[in-house]
């Protein structure tokens, strides 16, 4: 039941925070914090499984079960076979915890930055989080789609109301990309349910029921593509990545944190949970294309990152590059690569959130995002600079920090099945330091730029709120990097179950 409570708590807390905002901004802030604390505690309780025997509880399904830790099942719209079906295995739990953790980070980064329509902002923030938690737990396809939309609209509002100079363009681009691809997702979903109905005479949106459907190869490919495009947009992967740099650049800091840290992961989660289990044959056939897109994303986005002058745009492109590893990891569908893909999701969640929080802090202080208007900040903002160095190093994949574990496992696992893909992707090891170190050089080393003259001594270094926020993420990355098994013990049984559904299981 904790799954339901977390989502209810976020929805209700968001509504309350929105109303409280009419009375006082601070009330809204503290109420949101309280909501997240409660949700966080509930989230931690997910680590303790509530199911004794996972298989008996999923009625009327003989599909392989995986290792479910929690399950909530209720009838919702019986006429259409729609249920309120939430289930969480280790993968879901890890991603839900990441969501709630980054929710805190987003809240802390919004604390000072968001001064207009505070209540409404926290309403949107918490509703986005609720949508994401729902996505990671929903196993009824219709319910999944509802959460998919719940996540989208508040995020759109966050960008278009609290964003920067070009926010309307960016928000609209974000909305159109996501909404158009959602339409494909919905159509493919309905078609899948319809086929299941034809074959079995029972109407169901349940993931468990739709597994192992006997699909005509051509039709299977079309439906798989419907899902794939929707998730690829969210991931995002080349060539449908264009919304991301604009959305990130224009979003307020907490928006960027949520967007990079969590929202992108819903795309990856969709690939993992839906594409390959539901369409194993079509996905197997499609693998060469998916891997190619992954490799292109990794290298092309890394090269673009190097060429950016806007610090947020640079980080946005690194996100695309890093998510490319997730794509190839998932389509390699191998125990090591899959584990790597999820570790990469978690590691990237923390490192990109950290980098965006940092970019936000810089913009807040210097009123610019242009790297050529920075420089020499190492001496004037030593704490901020040290934190920046940490995250840049994490992003370039230094062993001992979280991102390395993900990238290394993805490449190692991918190499076992698709050696060429892994070898070409490994070139990112050379390109990543180029953008990461150029970021450090332009922002923090060298002499201060002319634009900074006179400004640099007046800006304040990180205070305790920001140090706490950054420190938490840094600690997270160190723990992920040195003790990844704390996370992977939850992933292994879940992945083993999931793997049976794909090819070569």
């Amino acid at each position: 039941m904790q799954l339901v409570w977390i989502i209810v708590c976020l929805f209700a807390g968001g509504a309350c925070a929105g109303i409280a905002g009419r009375i006082s901004a601070d009330a809204s802030r503290w109420l949101s914090l309280a909501t997240l604390v409660v949700a966080g505690l509930l989230g931690l309780s997910l680590l303790q499984p509530s199911l004794q025997d996972p298989s008996v509880l999923i009625a009327g399904s003989d599909a392989p079960q995986g290792q479910w830790l929690h399950l909530v099942q209720a009838i919702w719209i019986p006429h259409f076979g729609i249920q309120f079906l939430l289930a969480a295995d280790g993968i879901s739990v890890v991603l839900i915890l990441l969501t709630l953790f980054l929710g805190f980070i987003a809240l802390l980064s919004a604390w000072k930055e968001i001064q207009q329509r505070v209540g409404f902002f926290y309403f949107n923030l918490l509703w986005t989080l609720a949508g994401v938690v729902g996505i990671f737990a929903a196993l009824d396809l219709f319910l999944f789609f509802v959460f998919w939309e719940v996540m989208l609209i508040p995020m759109f509002l966050i960008i278009s109301i609290w964003g920067h100079e070009d926010r309307h363009y960016a928000a609209m681009k974000f909305f159109i990309y996501t909404q158009a691809s959602s339409l494909l997702l919905l159509a493919a979903m309905l078609a899948l349910v319809f086929i299941h109905w034809q074959q079995t005479d029972s109407l169901s949106f349940s993931w468990f029921d739709l597994l192992g459907l006997d699909l005509d190869p051509g039709l299977g490919m079309v439906l798989m593509l419907g899902f794939f495009i929707a998730f690829l947009v969210k991931l995002p992967g080349v060539p449908v990545h264009n919304w991301l740099p604009d959305a990130h650049t224009q979003a307020p800091t907490p928006g960027s944190v949520i967007l990079a840290g969590i929202l992108l992961k819903t795309g990856a989660y969709g690939l993992l949970r839906f594409i390959i289990p539901l369409f194993p044959d079509a996905a197997a056939q499609f693998t060469p294309v998916a891997l190619t897109l992954g490799v292109i994303s990794i290298l092309y986005a890394a090269k673009l990152a190097f060429a950016q002058n806007d610090i947020k745009r640079l980080i946005a492109y690194t996100s695309i590059s890093h998510m490319g590893f997730v794509l190839i990891g998932i389509f390699s569908w191998n125990a090591i690569a899959l584990q790597g893909a999820i570790m990469q999701m978690v590691g990237h969640g923390l490192s990109s959130a950290g980098l965006f929080a940092l970019a936000g802090a810089l913009q807040h202080r210097l009123h610019t995002r242009a790297l050529d208007a920075m420089g020499g900040l190492w001496s004037s903002l030593p704490r901020l600079a040290a934190v920046a160095m940490f995250f840049a190093i994490a992003a370039l994949g230094l062993p001992g920090l979280g991102n390395f574990v993900g990238e290394f496992l993805v490449l190692l696992g991918t190499f076992q099945v698709h050696a060429t893909t892994a070898v070409v992707s490994a070139l990112a090891m050379v390109v990543a330091p180029i953008y990461a170190l150029v970021l450090l050089q332009k922002g923090f080393f060298g002499p201060p730029s002319a634009a900074l003259a006179g400004k640099v001594d007046t800006v304040a270094d990180f205070g305790s709120r920001e140090l706490l926020m950054m420190g938490a993420m840094m600690l997270g990355l160190v723990i992920l990097g040195l003790f990844p098994r704390l996370v992977t013990v939850y992933l292994q049984p879940a992945l083993a179950g999931l793997q049976q559904l794909g090819w070569g299981g």
Binding site: K173, V238, P239, H241, N242, P245, K303, L304, F306, A307, Q308, N334, A335, I336, Q339, G340, G376, W378, S379, P382, R383, I393, L398, P399, G400, F404, V405, F408, L409, L411, L412, G413, F415, Q416, A419, A422, V423, A426, L427, M429, V430, P433, I434, L437, V438, Q441, F444, F445, G446, P447, L482, F483, P484, R485, T488, Q492
Partner: protein, 614 residues
């Protein structure tokens, strides 16, 4: 005592954490205590371990300590596990021992620097990572140390961050070595796919059991690992970063870019020697890389004018000898030379640091001159270092280099031609070493010099000088860890030539740079030799080549497409939609006659279609 092994990386890491937490606000005395003390204690623990280690019978000289399991995925299960054998212990001596002396020296050398604490924060992290590298029992953990030292190297080269040029040098070092690291990583992937393990000892025994001699897979993996090694150890074709790495503070050059990190490639190959032994081609390649690198960089060192760059090229050249030794299967000679080189090259760098500090950060040897009287201690220690580098008997360098040259002569992957190259290299080494020596210390004094005194400066120099002088008599516990090459019997004439040529080189340097015989000088300063010297001076134009071949095209491509061409696609869609919208709006102009006309026209078209198709 052996179960204290984890303290050897642990203590410097703790030092790093304390200094990091101190945020540079601790008093300098404490910073020194933590920064130097942590490495000193690590050296002490190493010594205690060594005492126990030497006490046990030779055959049982291995010790494993698992701290925790790092990752677990499929059959991959690397741990934070340490593996101590004679090879690792030999490396620990160098890292903690020489490392401690350099730290002590640095506490004097860097004292006035405003970022004094940051310096030790980085160097302590470096020592921890370097120790992890040599103690790792699996290749993933080794890779952690490998990348960790690379990071510290980057941070310390760019230590004086205000000058963008230092930042460029630091980035170059990191990115160029990363090219090698990528090859290394791919080698790991392949090794894991073929053998299913990344534990070094398991993989080595599985390798001999799985692959026949000269198997293609073994060769490929060995070559990929060699790729990592040439990056880290600044060998052909990835050597270009090391001379620029001299932008860092001089103790860093001594610690990272002479004594420890740059020899990690040598260690890697020695550690995986079983794999290399399986492949004659790979061994041959290692030997060729070694001999070509030692010659190329030797010639370049002849023409340099910056004291630290001369030493940098000489480091590349000496590591070339170590690679050559590995390539001809003289494993323990390579590690022996690694140690003696650490002694005399750390000595040379630290002395160079003292000299440079004394002459107010002047690094051009032609602007020094005659410093013999003003700097007596550096003069003496530099001389010892030069003798070691030249490998004149009975300094430490003599013993290690003699072993290598003899092995090259008699090995199947060596041979007479490669031997001749190596001896020619030794001859050149003598010339450039004593060219530097005579120009710096003799002749007319060009600049004022104030010697920096005190035990922090002098103790490390004197201890290292003693080590460089007598280090050749040390016995490293390598017999159980590395296959014994056996005594190489070479013809007397060969041995005499190898010993005599460096002496001739010293003599030639004496005539050229001390006596300054005009006829000889004329020869080098005019005509074709001069342009050849310019070519050598540029490092054989390899920077130029890479710049044209890789850097410029990449930057140009990035600039050209900085706006992301793919982003233009949706723009086309949106512009198309806007255009269509305008077209359709045009049709709704509110004029009745226009509507009637289009209706009539459309009816005509429909009727015409109906008539012709019906």
């Amino acid at each position: 005592m052996l179960d204290w092994l984890w303290l050897v990386p642990g203590l410097p890491f703790l030092g790093f954490l304390i200094l990091f937490a101190g945020q540079g606000k601790m008093p300098k005395r404490w910073t020194t205590l933590v920064g130097v003390g942590s490495v000193g204690l690590a050296a002490l623990v190493t010594l205690l371990i060594a005492v126990e280690f030497y006490g046990t019978p030779e055959a049982a000289l291995t010790y494993r300590q698992t701290l925790w399991t790092w990752m677990e995925a499929g059959s991959l299960k690397p741990g934070f596990s340490l593996y101590l054998d004679g090879l690792a212990l030999s490396m620990l001596f160098v890292i903690t021992g020489v490392g401690f002396l350099i730290h002590l020296y640095a506490s004097g050398y860097m004292y006035e620097d405003e970022d004094f604490p940051r310096f030790f924060t980085y160097t302590n992290l470096f020592v921890a990572a370097m120790v992890m590298l040599v103690l790792a029992d699996n290749l993933v953990l080794l890779f952690l140390g490998w990348e960790g030292v690379g990071l510290c190297s980057y941070l310390l080269i760019g230590f004086w961050y205000r000058d963008p040029e230092n930042g460029r040098c630091a980035r170059k070092a990191f990115i160029v070595t990363r090219i090698g690291d990528t090859a290394f990583a791919i080698g790991l992937f392949l090794l894991f796919r073929e053998l299913g393990t990344l534990d070094i000892q398991d993989a080595m025994s599985a390798a001999t059991a799985t692959w026949p001699r000269d198997s293609g897979t073994a060769t490929l993996i060995a070559v990929l690992l060699l790729g990592g090694a040439v990056g880290k150890s600044a060998q052909l074709p990835l050597q270009t970063w090391l001379p620029d790495a001299m932008a860092g503070p001089t103790p860093v050059s001594a610690l990272i870019h002479a004594a420890t990190m740059v020899t990690a490639g040598v260690y890697l190959i020695a550690r995986t020697h079983v794999l290399f032994q399986l492949s004659t081609d790979a061994m041959q390649l290692v030997a060729l890389v070694g001999v070509l690198t030692l010659l190329m960089s030797g010639f370049t060192a002849l023409t340099q004018t910056d004291l630290k760059r001369i030493l940098a090229y000489s480091t590349i050249s000496q590591i070339g000898y170590m690679f050559l030794a590995l390539g001809v299967g003289a494993w323990s000679s390579a590690i022996f030379h690694l140690m003696t080189h650490a002694f005399f090259k750390a000595l040379l760098f630290l002395t160079a640091g003292s000299i440079i500090l004394s002459v107010h950060h002047q690094q051009d040897i032609f602007k020094m001159g005659g410093l013999r009287k003003a700097l007596p201690v550096p003069f003496a220690t530099f001389l010892v270092g030069c003798l070691g580098l030249t490998a004149l008997p009975p300094t430490s360098g003599f013993f290690s280099k003699e072993q290598i040259l003899n092995a090259v002569w008699s090995s199947p992957t060596g041979g007479q031609l490669i031997w001749a190259g190596a001896v020619l290299g030794a001859f050149i080494t003598a010339i450039y070493t004593f060219r530097m020596f005579f120009i710096v210390f003799f002749g007319e004094q060009q600049t004022e010099a104030h010697e920096h005194k005190g035990f922090k400066f002098h103790v490390p120099l004197i201890v290292l000088a003693v080590l460089a002088a007598v280090g050749g008599f040390f016995h490293l516990p390598l017999t159980s860890a590395l296959p014994h090459a056996g005594h190489d019997h070479v013809p007397l004439g060969v041995e005499v030539t190898a010993i005599a040529l460096p002496m001739v080189g010293v003599l030639l340097a004496y005539l050229l740079f001390y006596r300054q015989i005009p006829a000889l000088r004329q020869l080098f300063e005019t005509g074709p030799l001069k342009s050849l010297a310019a070519f050598f001076y540029s490092g054989w134009a390899m920077d130029w080549l890479y710049d044209r071949l890789l850097v410029k095209p990449f930057v140009a491509l990035a600039r050209w497409n900085s706006k992301d061409l793919v982003d233009q696609l949706p723009a086309v869609v949106s512009r198309g939609a806007a255009l269509f919208h305008r077209l359709l709006s045009l049709s709704q102009n509110g004029q009745l006659r226009y509507y009637v006309a289009t209706m009539a026209l459309a009816s005509l078209v429909v009727m015409a279609v109906a008539v012709y198709t019906g």
